[in-house]
Amino acid sequence: MKPLHGIRIADFTVHNAGPFCTPLLSQLGAEVVKIESAMRPDAFRKPHPVYGRMGPATFDQVASTKLSVRINLKKPEGVALAKRVVAVSDVAAESFRPGVIGRLGLGYEDLKAVKRDIIMLAVSSSGQSGPDRHFAGYAPLFGAWGGLGEMTGYADGPPIEMRHVMDHTVGMNSAVAVMAALHRRRATGEGALVDVSAREVASSLLGEALLLAAAGEEPHRMGNAHPRMAPHGVYPAAGEDRWLSIAVDGEAERQALREITGSADLSDEALSVWTRTQDANAAAECLQAAGIAAHASWTTPEIAADPHLRERHAIVEVAEPDGKRRAAVGVPMRLSKGPEIGIHRGTPKLGEHEDYVYGELLGMGREERTALEEAEVIY
């Protein structure tokens, strides 16, 4: 049984942080209606030159398992149509800059007027309140504002920019918050405005460093070092650009490592002399057998092919419209009573599911839909 069967989400989210929330919920059984338009198609339908993608994506992880309808929100009739979708939904999700959705006439109060107990998820760079609420931002900026970027990097180098993992961490946190709001609605009958600040999600990943700073300390980036474990780091393995991550916890493990390497010296330099002669995967297995945490630094193809991840359905195969098969990432959990969770539909075509959403859910006739298409409302 998919646990969220029966939950419907009107999805206005754009870019990555918000859109990563709703496919998680859709893989868990929620019905997610992605609202977009030909005027402002989703980022994955366009080239993304800053990332070096010179054409549209043929598969989009964050759009998979969603339904797609077209609505031109620049027109009042489009806003009215969007409200009709919200009226049959449990959750409305958006990730515009604060204020934009309200100016469109689709703010929380507007939506409550059409669905009293609606849960509205608002994902933004800095939250819906505070002096920086208007700031524009993307994943690397969330990490910078939140402190995670400053704390990540070589001790003698610059900070590091966080990439998509930052966006998607925001999305996964958002999914948790939405679920909490649904539970409250079940208990109280009340909806909620859920405000997720991406920079605060970044900060939540370094809570102990922030606590130290509040206590007057000055925590700083420390590369791959660990405050307790040693050796702890990423070491060169045999082959071009091959690496082995090792974390040694306690004297018993250090002794085991000495026996494996044949050296009493466990400095990073000495350990690297041994690791350079080792196949990364074989060495990881050897160290694991001795009770030491180790893993090869895997490239993406290695991950996509891993039998463990495939057995767990963390990596799944999906089909593109032309039938080509490719690896995708499943929702990160296994449920004893929900083995069918996961991606069950690929990337939707723009407006692919209007017969279902407009016809079946909203009860709109062909004539009404045609009129709205001609008026570029369904567009």
């Binding site: 868990l28 649904l182 539970h183 791959n224």
Partner: protein, 375 residues
Amino acid sequence: MPDSSPPLSGLRIAVRASGVAAAYAARLLSTMGAEAILLEPAEGSPLRCEPPFLPGSEVSALFAYLAAGMRSAVVPDGGFGGLLSEADVFIDDTPLAEREALGLDEATVARRHPDLIHVSVLPFGAHGPKAHWKGTDITVLHASGEGYLLPNGLSCELFPGRPPVKVYGHFAELQGSIAAALGALSALWVRPEAGGQYVDVASQDAALAVGAFAIQRLGDGSVEHRVERSFRYGGVIPCADGYVELLTLEQRQWHGLVELLGKPDWSQDPALEDSLERSRQGPVINRHIREWASSRKVEDIVREGQKLSVPLAKYYTPAEVVRDPHEQVRGLFQPVETGAGVFDMLVSPFQFDGAPFALRGGPPALGDYTGGAAR
């Protein structure tokens, strides 16, 4: 009027945590109103001894953050039944090999507590050929993709021969936490129909999930590598007194950047109106941006840039985050007693109905919970 009670009021969580992933999963739920009881051995959870420590004390800052608002019950091995019978959710990171002897394996817990949501959180999960593998944050990060892909941008340019560098702290483990919280709430949602169930979470799977675009790009025919995945222009920009992050994705943001730079001659090349051409000329553009920024201060660049809607951010230190006026207005931090003094602690990265949540308190003293089945 919206209901102002925390969303998970009335929910009871029991958590057995020797690592970050299980503990933070319970912390997330606890901060939203659930009552969380940390089940500890007589000597306390190992997390209590995990550095860093608050100044002048033996109080773990990590434990204080993870366990804030929880209660602690000292429970002898095998004596978990009473507290589990009172709980809605049990979150556990006990290694697989030890579970059966403790009566904490999936089958035993399901038989004794049929309505319990039993959430297992392990580095590589409870199922699959690597389920018994030992994992820490750095090894899980490298087993899930992002480990190999960092650093990128400026750091990669400066230190091309160095090993990959990890994300600070417990990034991969915390992804396991968030996935576990999501799994717990999803399984609870369907409990009226399905009863209790087992939720198997791997920090590896969760860290992979947030790095999903690398797998997506692999399907497009591109293998991501830390050297090549730098932004074509923008990224970490060194300034006179620190660093800013710059990322312009939209045309109007590019125009704002040109304005910020003072419309230099090179930027007026009509070819640069095309985003694809800008991508091709990225290294040249970046050279100009870095030269311009090198003599300017971070605060000035960010202030002027944001006025022009150019996505720019200062790289804040932890102290700057704690002092940030924006976060003070939003109530991101709350003073709590940590055992080493009262300090501001991050509460939650999300809010409901325009108000922050509130922590019940700081980390628990060992065995401070004496209610219910722990008596």
